[in-house]
């Protein structure tokens, strides 16, 4: 005799699965709710555009950190996106099933598994320790390297799905390979490459660990990429652990802005991508 029937066991299991799903979903809703709740109250034009107030006095904003994150992301994209696209082209069109290609592919995959703080340490040892100066350049290098595997993987995958008929048609017409690659295959794969680059940009916008000991922080407007530069991410960390109520409130405001930007990029990429490739 069974203690409980198979059907009531099924009901118990559904209840357990719903509870476990709740354990995953509730924290996310909670995070989003607490960021919106705590962040909205400090949002204002002044908050978004002005320099931080001197320590101890209230007011001021996070303008320099917003500009700093943008500058560092743009320079990092200038390094990471071209290298990522070229590596992706190499993997897809020139070395797809060669030994060299699979070696490069293994390296790219391993690079995406290297903790961000270790990539930050690399930039620190290479640039900060060598020149004995905290600089935005080191942060740019670290974030740029972090973008490479993301962009390369997106490029390779979206170029691989382009039908071989097109490549063969191009060859039959006597078109040189670099033209087939750039004008035909890459232009077909454009959407996927752009999505990959945007997602990589969103990803590095939230990266904090590699910036702590490279770009450091600053209470002034950025004066050059070779200087310490304030970023939104480091501002959230510094202000959140300061314990000073006004700074903690500003950290929530900065978190709201960061999360909005990161989620907006992701949602945009996914909806645009679906329209283009989903067919419906």
């Amino acid at each position: 005799m069974r203690l409980i029937s198979r059907r009531s066991k099924e009901k118990l299991i559904i209840a357990a699965l719903v509870a476990l799903t709740g354990a995953a979903v509730i924290p996310l809703l909670w995070i989003v709710a607490s960021i919106v709740w705590n962040g909205v109250s400090v949002m204002s034009i002044e908050f978004l555009t002005s320099l931080p107030a001197p320590f101890g006095s209230t007011g001021g904003g996070i303008g320099n950190a917003i500009v700093g994150t943008l500058i560092i992301n743009l320079f990092a994209s200038g390094l990471g996106i071209p290298l990522g696209i070229l590596t992706g082209i190499y993997l897809s069109e020139y070395a797809y099933d060669s030994k060299m290609g699979s070696a490069v592919r293994t390296v790219v995959e391993s690079l995406s598994g290297v903790p961000s703080i270790v990539i930050g340490l690399f930039a620190f040892t290479l640039i900060v320790l060598t020149f004995r100066h905290y600089t935005g350049i080191a942060a740019t290098l670290a974030l740029g390297i972090m973008m490479i595997p993301l962009v390369a993987k997106a490029t390779e995958e979206s170029m691989r799905v382009v039908s071989n008929d097109l490549r063969e048609a191009g060859m039959a017409l006597g078109i040189p390979k670099y033209n087939i690659t750039t004008r035909i295959v890459l232009s077909m794969a454009k959407g996927g490459v752009i999505s990959g680059a945007l997602l990589a940009f969103a990803r590095i916008s939230g990266e904090t660990a590699p910036l702590l000991f490279t770009a450091l922080f600053s209470f002034y407007w950025p004066t050059g990429i070779n200087q310490p530069i304030a970023t939104l991410q480091v501002l959230i960390y510094n202000y959140a652990i300061s314990g000073f109520a006004d700074w903690v409130a500003k950290a929530w405001g900065a978190s709201l802005l960061l999360v909005l930007v990161v989620i907006a990029i992701n949602v945009a990429v996914r909806t645009l991508g679906r329209k283009k490739y989903g067919g419906a």
Partner: protein
């Protein structure tokens, strides 16, 4: 256009993409080389010091064992928490959830994977830490605090809190991989079970889960790799005490990890030996995470080969 210039452009492009790939490989190799060079002073000073149990900046003693053990412990606990949650959500998603719920859940999983680590950190520090202190740590310490693993006092910021926050960060990794594995269970196997009168759970238990066992294992290993290297959230909630587990083995004590130590000390380290010891810890972390990720990749490659031959 004459033939020569086409040939030239064609090979120039080939060298351009090949060269870019070599630059990427070069960066990867340089990470090891630079970290090894910069940790040389600490290795020469005392090769075994990094495995010592005392970290005292003022006396120049840099033993990294508490940080290494904190890294391993927080990640292992987080994985142990995350396995039932992720598997439960994945089974619910693939077998039971109506279409609309499924669409909502996939948005939730995507967003969870997107939220930056520092955001998990500020949430853990200001929202979760006080609740964990009052409603988890204090009751447990009050009732079974005589067991060293659960002894007090309740600080809030602790190894337990770090593991908890890490759990939420790795759930989307395990879930998204498990969902795609479970939904690729061959339909014939499912239908055969259903035609024998099996309930949905029996189909999951006897067909879907055994079929994707190996892949789920790989997903768990990948998540472990991610947890080991996670920095910001852990640094903000673990309390950064350099004594655990040598002063108290309690899960509720503040502890440290390799990443929290680097994040909280490197920018103000002036002593060369201090800097070099932190970099050596980073090198150890790199070796651990690469080994873990590489084993997960090996399993995944084996699964995709199996899929190709069947």
């Amino acid at each position: 256009m004459n033939k020569k210039s086409i040939f030239f452009k064609d090979s120039a492009f080939k060298y351009l993409v090949g060269g870019a790939s070599m630059v990427v490989v070069g960066f990867f190799a340089m990470i090891f080389v630079m970290l090894a060079i910069r940790s040389y002073p600490s290795i020469v000073n005392d090769p075994l010091m990094v495995f010592g149990s005392t970290w005292d900046v003022n006396s120049g003693i840099f033993g990294g064992l508490p940080a290494i053990m904190g890294t391993l412990a927080s990640s292992a606990i987080a994985v142990a928490f995350a396995i039932p949650i992720s598997l439960g959500m994945s089974v619910f998603f693939t077998e039971y959830a109506p279409r609309r719920v499924r669409a909502a859940l996939s948005v939730v999983i995507d967003i969870m994977a997107t939220i930056p680590s520092v955001i998990f950190g500020i949430w853990g520090l200001w929202i979760i830490a006080p609740l964990v202190k009052n409603y988890v740590q204090e009751p447990i310490i009050g009732s079974i605090g005589f067991i060293p693993l659960f002894s007090g006092p309740a600080y809030g910021l602790s190894l337990f809190l770090a593991s908890l926050v890490l759990t939420f960060m790795i759930v989307p990794i395990i879930s998204s991989l498990t969902i795609s594995l479970l939904s690729s269970t061959p339909a014939e196997l499912r239908e055969a079970m259903i035609s024998l009168g099996a309930t949905r759970w029996e189909v999951v238990r006897h067909v879907a889960l055994p079929f994707s066992k190996l892949g789920i294992f790989a997903a768990i290993i990948l998540a472990l790799g991610r947890a080991l290297g996670e920095t910001m959230a852990v640094t903000m909630v673990i309390g950064n005490s350099f004594m655990w587990p040598f002063s108290s083995v309690s899960l509720f004590s503040p502890a440290s990890t390799i990443t929290s130590k680097i994040a909280s000390e490197l920018y103000e380290a002036v002593d060369m030996l201090h800097v070099s010891s932190l970099i050596e810890l980073g090198l150890i972390l790199l070796v651990i995470t690469l080994t873990v990720n590489f084993s997960a990749r090996l399993i995944i490659t084996r699964i995709s080969r199996r899929g190709a031959t069947q």
